[in-house]
Structure formats: structure tokens, C-alpha cells
């Protein structure tokens, strides 16, 4: 899915898949923080909107 989205012109940072177990609280927090920062820098995605 990530590869397909990149192929049609989405920034690689827009889509992320991570395996996080219910007991991995720190990994969850770090991943979401990291993603939020990257997405804020990219700005809103205007392609799936009307």
C-alpha cells in the first residue's frame, strides 16, 4: 500500500504502518509523536478532499 501510494505521487511520510503491541506504550507514543511532527511539516493532504 505504501509503495502504491508513493508510486502515484504521495509523499513517503504520509503513510506509515507499524506493528505495536498493547504492552509497548513507549513505542506507541514515540511513533505517533514522530508521525505527527512529520505530517505537520507536510501540511494537509488536499487530494482526498472536496
Amino acid at each position: 500500500m505504501k509503495r502504491l501510494l508513493e508510486y502515484v505521487g504521495y509523499d513517503p511520510g504520509r503513510f506509515n504502518a507499524r506493528w505495536i503491541s498493547g504492552s509497548e506504550g513507549q513505542k506507541w507514543a514515540d511513533t505517533t509523536k514522530d508521525m505527527t511532527e512529520k505530517l505537520k511539516a507536510l501540511g494537509p493532504n488536499k487530494r482526498f478532499s472536496k
Partner: protein, 320 residues
């Protein structure tokens, strides 16, 4: 009349006479010289309508899905590329293998209507096609035309993996000894190499033109869900209006539903009335599945399932 057509008619007539099958699905002459159309033959006398020539571009396997409740067995004419669609349908449990009689025809490559129509007058009726070295002589009621085969060949035939059908109960015609071409995916690599902005611009200009006719879905031997997500109104998964963002969602979802299942017959591309290069999406996923899961082109062998429906310990886990 060429030898293959003659043998094809004989084979079909025998199958119908012996009541082995109720219907033969094959190619008949079309409305223009360089077109054929699907024909559905139910009596031995009508097998005269069957033809085989360089214009049998349609993939017929999807009709098996439409006719799966037809009483008795169905015989179908397939080329190498379409024959993978047979295994797609049987693996997906759309139709049992013993309900189909496959008439396989080894195919050296088909000629493109679009490429020919710009070169010759196609409005007559076809009398005969003759191959002379690198040239093809197309004899029609509006005159004879000689074209270079390499200039008129369908693009997909240049990287053909199976000239000979992967499955056939009856083989009509001589097997083709060409060594299988391995697709290097050069075309896909070209699109992968573009910048994010270029890709977005290119693909949005393609998706923008889509009229949502669903011809790509309807012709696809892998698109056989009884209830299609794109038809569903409740819940309304994908908007029905023609709008670039809904169109994009349709195309990406359609491509992804076929990831690891697409048999690479190229029918989606051929049927698109807006010339959207749909196959580029499927081929990209095919390339990725081959690289990641070491998969062969789906439909090449009778047994097997889709890579996305299977789990193996050695599967790559980039998301861990």
C-alpha cells in the same frame, strides 16, 4: 482460412456434437477488418462462425464467471495471457475446473486495433491474414494492406510470458518455441523514478479523465465479488460521482484488491475508453509482489493462493 481456424472449428463442432459441452465461447469476425468479437456457439453448425487470426485481442475468461450457472460444460478459447485467468477463476472458486473445457491456442502476438487503424483502411471485412517474414498482409474487402508486424504488435505482446497457454484440454495450433521473455519492468521503473510532484501531476491527470464506467472491473478475471465495493450504496464506501478524488480512491482500491492476484492480461488497459494506463498500477503491484514475496505471475499454476491471503515465516516485515 488458416489451419488453426479450421482445426478450431473441428474441435468445437466435435465437443458440441458429442454433447461434451453446451457452449463454446470463442472469437468471430467483427464489424471491421481488424476486429473480432466474442461469439457464443451452441450448435455444431454455428461453429463456422469461429475464427482465429491476429486480432483476437479480447480476453474471454470473464464470461465464464458471468455464465457460471449455465447448464452443462462451457468450452472457451484462450491465448497464453488469458489462460492465466482460468486459474484465477478456479482458485477463487468462481467456477469449478471440471465445468470448463479449455481450448488453448499458442499465440505469437496480437495486433493492435489502434495502431492499425491509423495506418490502413479498416472499414472493410477481413478475408485473410498472411504472415510474410516480418510483414503481415491483411487482405480485406477494401484492399490488401502490408504492415510491419513489429509496428502493429500490441505493447503487452513484446514482453509476453506465456505464448503457449498454461492450461489447455485441447491445444489447437503448433506450440510456439520462443523462449519466455522476462519482463524487466523498465516501464514501471521509469514512472518510479519521477519526483513526487511529477508523479502526482501525472496520475491526477489520468484519474481526472475517468468516467467511472467500470469497464476495467467488468473485464477483469480477478474482479468477481458478488457484491462489489464500488456498487455498494449502504455503506457508501466510495463516492459514485465523477470527481478526481473519488476517481483516485476507486483506482487505488481497485488496484489494491488485485495485488498479488492480477494475472497481467492487460484487459483493463485495453477496454478503458479514456485510455487511462490502468495496467501501470497493476504492474507496479505485480513487480512489488514478485520482489517481496518471490511470487510468479498469478494464474501461472493451478494450485496456489494470493500472497496477501497467505502467511509465511520468511515474509518481509518492514513495519515491525
Amino acid at each position: 482460412m488458416n489451419k488453426v481456424t479450421e482445426n478450431l472449428r473441428k474441435t468445437a463442432a466435435k465437443l458440441l456434437q458429442d454433447k461434451e459441452v453446451e457452449m463454446v465461447i470463442g472469437y468471430g469476425l467483427g464489424s471491421e477488418a481488424v476486429r473480432t468479437q466474442p461469439v457464443f456457439i451452441t450448435s455444431p453448425e454455428d461453429t463456422e462462425k469461429l475464427v482465429w487470426n491476429s486480432f483476437c485481442v479480447n480476453g474471454l475468461t470473464k464470461y465464464l464467471s458471468d455464465l457460471k450457472t449455465h447448464p452443462g460444460k462451457l468450452a472457451i478459447v484462450v491465448k497464453g495471457c488469458d489462460s492465466r485467468g482460468i486459474f484465477r477463476l478456479t482458485q477463487d472458486n468462481i467456477i469449478p475446473r471440471d465445468k470448463i473445457v479449455v481450448i488453448g491456442i499458442p499465440c505469437a502476438g496480437q495486433l493492435s486495433y489502434t495502431k492499425l487503424a491509423s495506418k490502413i483502411d479498416v472499414s472493410g471485412q477481413l478475408n485473410d491474414v498472411e504472415e510474410k517474414g516480418d510483414d503481415v498482409v491483411i487482405k480485406t474487402t477494401k484492399g490488401d494492406f502490408t504492415v510491419k508486424k513489429s509496428e502493429a504488435l500490441l505493447d503487452k505482446c513484446n514482453t509476453c510470458e506465456h505464448h503457449n497457454p498454461v492450461v489447455a484440454d485441447h491445444v489447437v495450433g503448433d506450440a510456439i518455441n520462443a523462449s519466455p521473455t522476462t519482463d524487466s519492468y523498465d516501464e514501471i521503473k521509469k514512472y518510479e523514478a519521477m519526483s513526487t510532484e511529477e508523479k502526482a501531476k501525472f496520475w491526477l491527470s489520468q484519474f481526472e479523465r475517468c468516467i467511472r464506467c467500470y469497464a476495467c472491473r467488468n473485464t477483469c478475471p480477478g474482479c468477481t465479488c458478488r457484491e462489489c465495493i464500488f456498487d455498494a450504496i449502504k455503506p457508501d464506501w466510495v463516492g459514485k460521482e465523477i470527481d478526481v478524488s473519488e476517481n483516485e480512491l476507486f483506482h487505488l482500491t481497485r488496484a489494491f484488491h488485485l495485488a498479488g492476484r492480477c494475472v497481467d492480461c492487460g484487459e483493463c488497459d485495453r477496454v478503458c475508453p479514456m485510455d487511462i494506463p490502468i495496467r501501470l498500477l497493476n504492474k507496479k503491484l505485480l513487480k512489488e509482489c514478485k520482489e517481496l514475496f518471490n511470487m510468479e505471475t498469478p494464474g501461472s499454476v493451478e494450485e496456489g493462493g494470493s500472497v496477501i491471503g497467505q502467511y509465511r515465516l520468511e515474509d518481509p516485515e518492514e513495519f515491525m
